[in-house]
């Protein structure tokens, strides 16, 4: 029987204006990060509904990271401030339910921070990998 190497699955929600561009810059500069990271483009980090995050965990994601413009630099002036409050509350709640707090993260990445994007993803993927598979929030039906 073949032992499959454990690879964490990470969903990254990136705002269109800063973080998605930061990810592009990481690409332009050929900065490697694990292929386990899959990016979903949203207009602003404040578009990320907690439902999306839970859904990702439900379907087997091992970590979810939300990236937005730095506070004060939001393309929509205030979107990331709402993100900050919502996610602070949500992550604290997930922790309260016993979900490992290392599986969720918010990081501010500007369009100029390709290196930060890659470093963040490397570090996050490593952290999540060290936790092992997400067992506490997954929907077993969805696991093959």
């Amino acid at each position: 029987m073949q032992v499959k190497e454990y690879k964490p699955l990470i969903v990254a929600f990136c705002c269109n204006w800063c973080s998605y561009a930061g990810a592009d810059l990481a690409g332009n500069n050929r900065l490697n990060y694990p292929a386990d990271v899959k990016i979903i483009r949203v207009p602003c980090s404040c578009r990320v509904n907690p439902m999306f995050i839970l859904r990702a965990f439900q379907r087997g994601a091992d970590g979810v990271i939300i990236c937005g413009c730095h506070p004060g630099d939001c393309h929509y002036t205030s979107g990331n401030y709402y993100t900050r409050r919502r996610m602070a509350a949500l992550f604290s709640m997930l922790d309260f339910l016993g979900i490992e707090k290392e599986r969720t993260r918010v990081e501010w990445v500007s369009a100029a921070e390709g290196a930060k994007f890659a470093a963040t993803m490397n570090e996050f993927a490593q952290t999540v990998a060290s936790l092992g598979e997400n067992k506490r929030l997954e929907d077993l039906r969805c696991k093959k």
Binding site: M51, Y81, R85, S92, M93, D95, G98, T104, V106, R136
Partner: protein
């Protein structure tokens, strides 16, 4: 054990109906059992005199019913509000959920309501009748020869033991004396859970939430859950989910439900009161309230009409989501 009597409430309702101030009364009526009190709309003095009930099981928070009833009744509707109900009342006004002009709100004092589960713990099953006997309840069961006397204080609902306020924040008229906001110990249980390891917390919630049968009682009783259509009932929401298929689904339901009411929940405790599985759902709401208080300053939803809920507000100096845990680590 209530200071205000049924007769006083009936007299008030009848008077307001007769002089035309109101054309309907939102009140409690008997359900199948003595402890199974049901909200009802009374349209006449006769109905009130006959069916109006007031006892230690009248916990139902009527604020929510105003959303539907104010649209149905011609003229004003009389609602009796216990102190904790008035917060929900204000919160719904903040959210424009009913027309204040169509309501005549009478604030009534509350000495705390009984929890039938606690009664059962003492007397066992097969409760036939419960009579209020001043400081205690006289409970007759199928299996006991004589009625059992149960101390009203001993069976008081958790939310009343940890009552956060005896003050009415909204009313047109007040019966009895107004009280004060209370420094309660309502967050102690949350703090206890916070002090556990994540594994212990996970086990705790796994045990609690796995009992959920998705009956939606919590949602239906919650005065913050007054959505015209709940996301979980909406096929377009992509999370539509009528019944739990596995352990994750109810977790998602309860997390999202708590998140949707976060900053708006007044901590009235109806969710836990109506839960047939006795899941301490209010702890999820209190966790949000406690966090919000600690992160963004004290906020009591419904204390004032028109206040801005913390999650639709921000300051540029708010703490980062990551710092939430650094704080926790320091405390631990």
């Amino acid at each position: 054990m209530q200071k205000i009597t049924r007769d006083q409430l009936v007299e008030k309702a009848v008077a307001l109906l007769s002089d035309g101030t109101v054309s309907a009364v939102l009140g409690w009526s008997r359900g199948e059992f003595d402890y199974d009190i049901t909200p009802a709309v009374f349209k006449s003095a006769e109905e009130v005199k006959e069916n109006f009930v007031w006892n230690d099981f009248c916990g139902a928070n009527f604020s929510k019913y105003l959303v539907a009833q104010t649209g149905k009744v011609e003229g004003k509707i009389l609602v009796f509000l216990k102190p904790c109900d008035t917060y929900s009342f204000n919160q719904l006004l903040t959210e424009h959920r009913f027309d204040r002009e169509k309501v005549y709100a009478v604030g009534i004092p509350c000495e705390g309501m009984a929890d039938i589960a606690k009664v059962r713990e003492i007397v066992g099953d097969g409760i036939v009748s419960i009579e209020d006997d001043g400081e205690s309840l006289k409970v007759s069961t199928l299996y006991a020869d004589a009625p059992v006397l149960v101390g009203a204080k001993d069976v008081m609902a958790e939310r009343c033991v940890n009552c956060k306020s005896k003050k009415h924040v909204a009313f047109d008229e007040l019966m009895g004396e107004d009280g004060e906001v209370i420094e309660s110990a309502r967050f102690d249980e949350v703090a206890r859970l916070e002090a556990m390891t994540p594994d212990e917390r996970f086990l705790f919630w796994q045990n609690e939430l796995s009992r959920c049968i998705r009956c939606n009682a919590c949602r239906d009783a919650c005065p913050a859950c007054t959505c015209e259509k709940c996301v979980f009932d909406n096929p377009d929401s992509a999370v539509e989910n009528k019944a739990p298929a596995n352990s994750f689904e109810e977790k998602m339901f309860h997390i999202i439900r708590a998140f949707h009411v976060a900053g708006r929940c007044t901590d009235c405790g109806e969710c836990s009161r109506v839960c047939p599985q006795n899941i301490p759902l209010h702890l999820l709401n209190r966790k949000f309230i406690k966090d919000i208080n600690e992160f963004y300053g004290e906020y009591q939803a419904g204390a004032e009409v028109g206040s801005r809920a913390p999650l639709v507000d921000y300051t540029t100096e708010d703490l980062e989501p990551g710092e939430v845990f650094e704080r926790g680590d320091q405390d631990a």
